[in-house]
Amino acid sequence: MTLDFDVERFNEAVGENDEQHHESLGTLGDDLRELHAETRRAVGGASRRDFLIRSAIATTTLTIGSQLLPMRSLFSGVAGAQVLTDADIAAFAASLEYTAVATYTAAAASGKATDRAVLDAGASFSAQHQAHGDAFAAMANGAITTGTTNKNLLTALSTQLSQAVDEMGVVRVLFQVENAAAATYQFALGALETLRFKQLTASILPIEAGHAAVLGQILFAGDPKKDLEKHWLPPFQTEAGFVDPTKNPVA
């Protein structure tokens, strides 16, 4: 095995960014164990640092399977988190919203969705996402230009839309967009520090959750037991399925 590990970088990252947990730890082994303990926070916000460190871990769980934890990327996430501001998070959120608008637009243009209820809901939700994007962009201190989509995310969603074989396939993609947005804002609430950023995010989070409920009704109305508890109408909004800012940075 080739060990690609920069001890100096590790030492620096731990020393600079350890806000809560590492003060009393004096050895590398303990530090590593403690970092791993973060994986237990499958959901739930704690600090600005967590916004990225847990993103990195969550990405790991999704993508590397049985491979070794990519420590370098984990630590670069820690270092990046130190300079992440509320405005940065707002810019990321704006990019998600504009991506949602583009996805709804593409869904309507695909011709696969023809039901009037679906089209009306899509038009309404898209307009709301545009408003959300503009609101986040206005809070981002110039970190994002109005209308800027998240390229990675849009590419992934465009692929999914093109692979959708029918109207329900399109609705499923939109349902995922809404749930992912809600989860991301739930995630962000644990990282934001300024009240006005929290309030804006908290005023948008339920709207996305509501969109997901309506689309879920369309998807699962024929089989109310299917996915009812976990995804369509969960008892608590969680961060599960949030959009990872480290994998989908604002361009």
């Binding site: 403690e34 939700f125 969109h211």
Partner: protein, 258 residues
């Protein structure tokens, strides 16, 4: 820092083993969060990210964090032995010190959730469509879960659980409840109550002092709004007409009666 590459390799191998082992239990824990038997304290921890590494949690009889993982990964004290499968749920009480103003919000929130549970009891008597009744029953179950969450935090802070509906709000709403005469009335009432609840939690974001509490309450507020969106759709009113773009605090309930 005085370390060797061998030490780093050993640590990385250890972490990898822990990581793989824990992924399965974490996934299972999240799944079980959605089930009724999850203790409210566990749900609160999962939602707020407050799970402590030395804390032993069991969800529905299955360990979220196995003792082996705790011992290997935390470097802390060994975990207590696991209960036998199907045995009693074990949750270590952990006294927290919430701000008194936050505790008052928790009490009010619990009383609001209890009110919603009672309201759905009344509304359910008028709901005859099976699918709608199933939705109402599900929503009522969620409100019970939410009340348990808030009460769990109250008890953890040395306070008494608030198990009754908010008496002031109930008195205010009683004329409306008494006037319900049809399924449509019941759904409209439920929609109004869900929007008020979601708005109330949004209002709490500017009031709560604990650093994680806004996140926790909005995890519930967002759920209430999912209820509202579905009820709005079922009553023929697009959700966009109920909340055009942004949820506001216009419908928020004042924290009275606690």
């Amino acid at each position: 820092m005085d370390i060797s590459n061998d030490a780093v390799r050993r640590s990385l191998r250890e972490i990898d083993a822990c990581h793989r082992e824990e992924l399965a239990s974490t996934t299972e824990g999240i799944d079980r969060l959605y089930q009724a038997e999850a203790p409210s304290a566990t749900k609160w921890d999962v939602i707020t990210g407050g799970a402590q590494r030395a804390r032993w949690m069991r969800v529905g009889g299955v360990a979220v964090l196995s003792s082996a993982v705790l011992a290997a990964c935390s470097g802390g004290e060994p975990a207590p032995p696991a209960a036998a499968p199907g045995g009693p749920t074990t949750t270590t009480p952990e006294m927290t010190k919430e701000d008194p103003a936050d505790l008052r919000i928790f009490r009010f929130s619990a009383s609001l959730e209890n009110l919603a549970v009672a309201a759905y009891d009344t509304a359910a008597k008028l709901i005859t469509t099976p699918a709608l009744l199933a939705a109402a029953t599900l929503f009522q179950g969620h409100h019970k879960d939410h009340a348990k969450m808030f009460n769990g935090q109250l008890v953890a802070s040395g306070e008494k659980a608030f198990t009754e509906p908010n008496s002031v709000l109930l008195a205010t709403l009683k004329p409306q409840l008494d006037a319900l005469a049809s399924e449509e009335d019941a759904l409209a009432f439920a929609l109004d109550l869900e929007v008020k609840a979601a708005s109330t939690y949004l209002a709490s974001v500017g009031q709560l002092k604990g650093p994680k509490l806004s996140s926790a309450t909005m995890s519930i507020g967002a759920t209430e709004f999912r209820h509202a969106a579905l009820l709005s759709n079922l009553t023929g009113k697009p959700i966009a007409s109920t909340a055009p773009g942004f949820l506001t605090t216009a419908e928020a309930l004042a924290p009275v009666g606690v």
